[in-house]
Symmetry: C2
Subunit: 66 residues, 2 copies
Amino acid sequence: MSTTYRVTGMTCGGCARSVEAAIKAEAPAASVSIDLGTATITVDGADEAQVKKAVDGAGFDFQGAA
Amino acid sequence: MSTTYRVTGMTCGGCARSVEAAIKAEAPAASVSIDLGTATITVDGADEAQVKKAVDGAGFDFQGAA
């Protein structure tokens, strides 16, 4: 089951790649899709606590479920 | 003592912030300065292995000492 979260502070493809890498470091099997235009990420295979830890640790702003 | 490393893949301030956050997660007392124009980062208070782990883990490309 995938969940979509709002994440602010991502402004380019490098940011998106960084968020994806951080989530996969927490949950290696996770699937991550990032939409910079809507500032949302959709994640399958990681729980909210893992996603929040990864996003915050990567220097972006986790805003909870979108 | 600070050391300067080449890191590629950073394209905006969000990327720079992400690299800095990742290094500080490895070495909380580290001081980090990032120059996007020259693709270099200057780090004090973390060793090269910590910097490499942080940069690679954040989805950017650690290229060694500049």
